[in-house]
Amino acid sequence: MRLMLGLAQINTVLGKPEANLEKHLALARQAAQDGADLLIFPELSLTGYVLQDLTAAVAHRPQADDPLFQPLLEASRKIDLLVGFVEEDTRNRFYIAAAYLSKGEVRHVHRKVYLPTYGLFDEGRFFAWGDAIQAFETRFGRAGILICEDFWHASPPYLLWLDGADLFLFTSASPGRGLNSAPILESARWVEHINRAYASLFTAFVAHTNRVGYEDGLNFWGGSTVFDPNGELIVQAPYFEEGVTLAELDLNQLHRTRARLPLLRDERTALVQRELNRILTSRTSGR
């Protein structure tokens, strides 16, 4: 089975979801025409990233009567979509979220679990912490969504793997930083390393869409990637340039790689559980 995946590496208007919606719909139409099955947008693709006090003003609920989601759900009849937005829950907490839309339905919503609140980041000040990491079924097999800092921690991808995800969908609004003599930024190098590592360790497909553009002095570096279950790079979008990059995924590669390298088969989950329980309950925990 083949999956034509589109990485929508876009720039966004800060705090204007309706303007960003137009871009989403236009790119979804074009990608569907180009034969894509699934189009992945970056973190907070409908709102922009450094929202600060705009957070509450741009929040939406991923449901059919929402003015932002109604047209997106309509578009998802032709092409599956992963979109980034600010979600307001029924008790008015705000999350950095990503919604997977397919055939007119919301199939899954992931709320960002790890909110970086250090250095140049201030997410914990404005957003509530997501509290679940779950894989979900798609037309192309079981998938999992993580947002930026979520995959800087090793446990969320590991949990998705155990929950059955073979297709990892990662999204970012990663500010470029760490200029030295190397031809790419330190932030880009690190993200590429760990994406390749997860593909190799979990013998799975890892697709990452990062945004481009600027917000005040911050630049977003793009460079979206797809790695296959052997950890090989299938495609990389250009750095800093807006555009949709298509990648054809041969999903049978899972079969071939796992026949060669049965890491999933041999994973000793009961041992993990036992040792985690011991570590977390022992009096000398907190190491």
Partner: protein
């Protein structure tokens, strides 16, 4: 002492910085830039970057000499204008600032220098309105950290593409951009009075202080760790103290909080809000 490598990839810097200038000027509804061109390396780099980002015809370089300004400065600025194809204007500030100097005849060099820097700011912001362009800054990371700048003078700008590059790194970028050699080779100077040089006034070289600042700021070394890494203790303390004393030049003036929502504390929006 182990050498500290401040080398940057200039292609990458150039790409990010020209994109920054284009983005931050166009989203504010402008397409043009205004730059005070001194003949020194910092404003030359800003001018090259702005010309590359916006096109030379969309950049206005303003030369603002005082009667004691070095003739080399005007000539070097002209080289930048010729190389980048930017529009240019020369506005001499002598007759604008001297009445104020005469009103306070006991004025020292620092006061006179600040007045000249602020007079140049007035001209740049007036040209900003006349030309329909935003003022692009020319301050580098070294001088911002050391506070070697005039508040509301040469530090005033709408956006600054080079403020996260140390002077040493700026020299690399200048070479890659093709900034003429005479500009890159001469001793850095504010040129506020004859014979003034940055390194003479500061008391140390940019090569030295950039390495120390890189450890203190970028690598988060403590002053003691810098001394253990081989820097002279009095040099370290002098620089740390200078950085601290000049924090006021790096932030907006604090507003006394009275209400539940106060600008600067809990009224938080980027400048790019809505764009």
């Amino acid at each position: 002492m182990k050498p500290i490598d401040l080398t940057i990839n200039t292609d990458l810097a150039r790409r990010i910085l020209t994109g920054f200038i284009r983005s931050e000027i166009t989203r504010m509804g402008f397409s043009r830039a205004v730059i005070g061109l001194s003949g020194g390396i910092d404003s030359a780099v800003s001018c090259f970057l702005a010309a590359e980002a916006l096109g030379g015809q969309n950049v206005l370089a303003v030369r603002m000499p005082y009667r004691t300004s070095s003739p080399d400065s005007l000539e070097d600025a002209q080289k930048v204008i010729d190389a980048t194809g930017v529009q240019s204007l020369t506005v001499e500030i002598t007759r604008m600032v001297e009445p104020l100097f005469q009103r306070f005849p006991d004025m020292d060099n620092m006061r006179r220098g600040n007045i000249m820097a602020r007079q140049r700011m007035i001209i740049l912001y007036d040209q900003s309105a006349a030309f329909g362009g935003l003022v692009v800054g020319t301050g580098n990371k070294t001088e911002i950290l050391l506070g070697y700048t005039t508040l509301y003078g040469d530090s005033a700008c709408a956006l600054n593409p080079i403020g996260d590059l140390y002077k040493t790194q700026l020299r690399q970028l200048a070479e890659a951009l093709g900034v003429p050699e005479s500009i890159r080779r001469k001793a850095p100077s504010a040129d506020l009075w004859a014979g003034q040089t940055d390194e003479g006034e500061l008391g140390y070289t940019y090569a030295e202080v950039d390495q120390l600042l890189y450890l203190l700021v970028d690598q988060r070394y403590t002053p003691q760790e810098c001394i253990e890494a081989g820097f002279d203790a009095s040099f370290v303390h002098k620089v740390v103290d200078r950085m601290r004393r000049n924090q006021f030049k790096r932030i907006l003036p604090p507003i006394a909080k009275l209400s539940n929502r106060t600008i600067g504390y809990d009224f938080l929006y980027l400048r790019d809000w809505g764009t």
